[in-house]
Point group: C2
Chain length 261, copies 2
Amino acid sequence: MAKWGAEEPSSIGEAASIISRLVSRRAWIIVAAACINEYEGRAASKTTPGDKVIMIKPSGSVIVHGPRGFKPQNWQPDTSAIHVSEEDGFLVIRAVRRSPREILTLRCHKVYTVQWLEEPEEGDFWMYINEHQIRDLLATNPSILEPGLVITRVERPVEPGFVDLYGRDREGNLVVIELKRVKAGVEAVKQLLGYVEAFRRKGVRVRPILVAPDFTESAVRLAETSGVELKRIDLRGLYELLAGRARPRRGSLEDFLPRED
Amino acid sequence: MAKWGAEEPSSIGEAASIISRLVSRRAWIIVAAACINEYEGRAASKTTPGDKVIMIKPSGSVIVHGPRGFKPQNWQPDTSAIHVSEEDGFLVIRAVRRSPREILTLRCHKVYTVQWLEEPEEGDFWMYINEHQIRDLLATNPSILEPGLVITRVERPVEPGFVDLYGRDREGNLVVIELKRVKAGVEAVKQLLGYVEAFRRKGVRVRPILVAPDFTESAVRLAETSGVELKRIDLRGLYELLAGRARPRRGSLEDFLPRED
DNA sequence: GAATTCATCTGGAGA
DNA sequence: TCTCCAGTTGAATTC
């Protein structure tokens, strides 16, 4: 169990010394304060004074949130150095990283609270549905897509890029499959056509299939005129398969494809 | 000045009632707790028990951080509903949004602290260097790119997409410029070639220029074989120009282009 | 709502 | 290191 603590510093100087000590101990620090942010690096930004929540993680990241929006106002992903000091009556937190050279400076005129966790327990994080998972599932269960399909290569390098799945259909045609976990737009069709063209230049004719849960109107139009096959796939069925709540049965190949209606 | 407060709840039930009240008041809430996360929606993830910092913003976002990394473990950008309750001895925070249907569930077995700001002052956020700024600067100072260049259109619509800058060079050729603030990859060249092709179909011949601080190897190769001109630009110089620390001088057109060496 | 593009994108894998 | 690509990408803008 992590050790935690909280303080309401009575002065900027006290806040600086508390935070400085916590940073050197690699604690997980949350500071509620009123400050301005200044960032200069790949881009540049600044704020007027406002209330912020500043998080400094044991791993060294610095994250500054404003009251709105899901994204932080400013951040520093992996900071080579975090400096905490008092300057001209301000609590100044500086996070500097090199390559790319970027500096984030927080100038706080009021510190509401400082709160921390020391030696936090991390726990595991398990993302169990993503494109990688689906690709591997389809690679090992290609009959979900089409009877008789055999996958011979996963992530086959082509021209500049990679074909998600590469194999051969029942009739011996080479098949090139592009997989999208979310609705596929016209860009996905173009990408696949690029691969087809790359194969054609090498004198190889392939059958392109775009697999996705849904397709945009423009994707359907381009696919029709360019000879790309579209195959809708029901992710929910795949999810259940991945979660072990279902099992691919022989002869149930269309179970994971949505009804045609 | 925001009203702030902090509490160390003595029980899960007390934590639930405190947080529930704060949510209904639209306070900015920070909870340090040990919990598991469960997310199901476009993807799915779960964690084992571990220490987390949970932020609930007045705007309704829910952000769950683990001890490492700049990104949150889980989040909910704009939540239709946040439910706080006690279930089986756990503090349960549920953030549900529809479209896409996604559910984030936090099950806390230990709450270290609850901290909040009511009516936080927001302040302004001003990003003063981004592609938009650079594009406008080049549009009004095209001689930075090339003597005699005249820009006639900014963000000119073309087939699918927009040409960043469109104009005419000293010799009367139509010029199509694609601008990247960061190193340009092969995709940028392809994008530009797409525009060239779109113009060609309309019987218009254009001179394509890709402007960026740097180019990937594959971008250079494709550019060479496809007739796209690459123009390196020094962003630092542009930054200074934007910041008013420098001024475009007549006859100093190459000042903002890196040396050829 | 759909489509497109930018982002300090971040993060990961591979060469 | 660079390069490429997925991401619960988010967010803005346009139609």
